[in-house]
């Protein structure tokens, strides 16, 4: 048991070490200049030296991501419920939603910036836009795939539409809602960074951009790592929420 646990932690660490060694070797042996690709130790030093800056800029990006994501949930889930339960709304909007899902939403970022300015509003709009689609599409799919027997059982007891929704349809759809939410939260981080790229004076995306333009590659890479940590953090938050809200689900399959 102890050996297995050591292996489970040891092998991933070993993997990281191999990558870092290859990265260092590549930089040193090929004489890559720091402005192009800094060695891992320089990135690490920048990460430690500018930690306060990374945290304060990261806080901005985190807020944009989470607020936009929550907004997408608040709007997306009730809309999904309406679409799944109304034939007219379904015919009017569902094909449109499926179609719009494939539109590159980040291409709208410059337009949203013109409309909403360089403050947090434009970032929230972009994050909302990218997070909204997976949430609504998966929630609709979930609400529609209620097992037929459960619906018949409820009908046979003369359940009201509200009872059917609250006690059967919605709980049965929860796993789908969380599948959508996990895709959405990943996209939300991307949305926030795109928003900062296009026009902003704060956030990790802005820091990455300004560090690059000042040829401070170690800081740019440190910002990139901070962004990765932020992305993992918010994903884990959603996974935690899933465990709390839907504890009956079997544990997520191991990703090989």
């Amino acid at each position: 048991m102890g050996v297995r646990l050591a292996g489970q932690i040891g092998y991933p660490l070993l993997g990281v070490a191999v990558i870092l060694a290859a990265w260092t070797a590549f930089c040193v042996l090929r004489g890559i200049p720091t402005v192009v690709l800094p060695t891992p130790d320089k990135v690490f030093n920048a990460f430690v030296a500018r930690f306060d800056l990374l945290v304060s800029e990261g806080w901005v990006t985190l807020k944009e991501t989470l607020y936009g994501f929550i907004l997408a949930l608040v709007v997306g889930i009730p809309m999904a419920v309406a679409i799944a339960n109304s034939r007219a709304l379904n015919l009017m909007f569902y094909p449109l939603l499926i179609g719009l899902q494939s539109v590159p939403k980040v291409a709208l970022a410059p337009i949203l910036l013109v409309w909403l300015g360089t403050g947090i509003e434009s970032k929230l709009a972009i994050v909302w836009l990218v997070a909204f689609f997976p949430i609504i599409v998966d929630t609709v799919a979930g609400l529609r795939s209620t097992p037929r027997e459960l619906l018949e059982l409820a009908h046979s007891l003369r359940a009201t539409p509200l009872q059917i929704f609250l006690k059967v349809q919605f709980p049965a759809a929860l796993p789908f809602v969380f599948t959508g939410a996990k895709v959405a939260i990943t996209l939300a981080v991307i949305g926030a960074v795109i928003g900062e790229f296009v026009g902003s004076s704060e956030g990790l995306g802005f820091l990455l951009l300004s560090a690059t333009s000042q040829l401070d590659a170690p800081l740019a890479f440190a910002a990139l790592f901070a962004l990765s940590f932020l992305g993992m953090f918010v994903y884990l938050l959603v996974e935690l929420a899933e465990r709390l809200a839907a504890p009956w689900l079997p544990p997520a399959p191991q990703r090989h």
Binding site: L150, L153, A154, H155, S156, L157, K167, V168, P171, L174
Partner: protein, 265 residues
């Protein structure tokens, strides 16, 4: 007058109701008539896809019939009456509820989820041998155990009529025999009438007061076979001449074996 009366029930699915791209309406049920008394266990026996499940859903008021009449306990059925129990082929439990809360689902919908309901749920789960699993999750149970929970869920509101749609069809043979005995015991203790859809000849004969045999689609009632075996029954009854004779009559009605020569049997 009989407790349940099914008269000339016919069901035609319009082409638009079907999921397949058939342009023709499908006659699922041509002409079904039979009667049963209160407390009887009636099997509806027929080949797969012959429309017996459709008939069960019509009797339960879940789908409308094209013509004919269904009367249960003096009431004409046109929509769910709310006091039946339903058991499906798959247990269809809610994975987000514990075992006892799955049973209590029925009472929640009927707004009768009080302490007495909880006590009755516990009693029923004891009766089916699941007393140690009240708080377990459905996925922790075997298929047979899950179907026992579904049976309790269908019985908790003390329905007059239990509708069962091939409930043991997905179980292995030994579990199935066990469940047959459990069903007979429960029927004895609750006094509920049971309509039991199956495609197993021996299961139908073993359980029933009367077996209604259906022909291939479009289904008609081919014959009614009263089973002249006394209750309580045990598995030994399967090896008696009376049991074998009933099986033979059912097999002949289904066209599985050619009719016996008159006098030869």
């Amino acid at each position: 007058m009989a407790f349940g009366s099914i008269q000339n029930v016919r069901k035609v699915f319009a082409a638009s109701e079907l999921t397949s791209r058939s342009a023709e309406p499908v006659v699922a049920l041509d002409d079904a008539s039979f009667e049963f008394d209160e407390g009887q266990l009636i099997s509806l026996l027929g080949p797969s896809g012959c429309g017996k499940t459709t008939l069960l859903r019509i009797i339960g008021g879940l789908i409308p019939k094209t013509s004919g009449s269904v009367t249960i306990g003096g009431r004409e059925v046109t929509q769910p009456l709310g006091d039946y129990g339903f058991v499906f082929q798959s247990p269809s439990l809610m994975p987000w509820r514990s075992v006892i809360d799955n049973v209590l689902f029925t009472m929640e919908i009927l707004k009768r989820n009080d302490r007495a309901a909880r006590e009755r749920a516990t009693q029923l789960l004891n009766l089916v041998g699941l007393s140690g699993f009240l708080d377990a999750r459905p996925h922790q149970l075997s298929g047979g155990m899950q179907q026992r929970v579904a049976l309790c869920r269908a019985l908790i509101h003390q329905p007059k009529l239990l509708l069962m749609d091939e409930p043991f069809g997905a179980l292995d043979e030994l579990t199935r025999l066990e469940m047959n005995d459990l069903l007979l015991r429960i029927r004895r203790e609750t006094g509920a009438s049971v309509l039991f859809v199956t495609h197993s000849i021996s299961e139908a004969v073993y359980l029933s007061d009367k077996v209604i045999v259906f022909s291939r689609r479009p289904a008609r009632v081919a014959t009614e076979i009263p089973i002249a075996l006394s209750y309580p029954r045990s598995q030994q009854v399967r090896f008696t001449p009376a049991f074998t004779k009933s099986e033979r009559i059912a097999s002949e009605a289904l066209g599985v074996v050619p009719p016996a020569e008159a006098g030869a049997a």
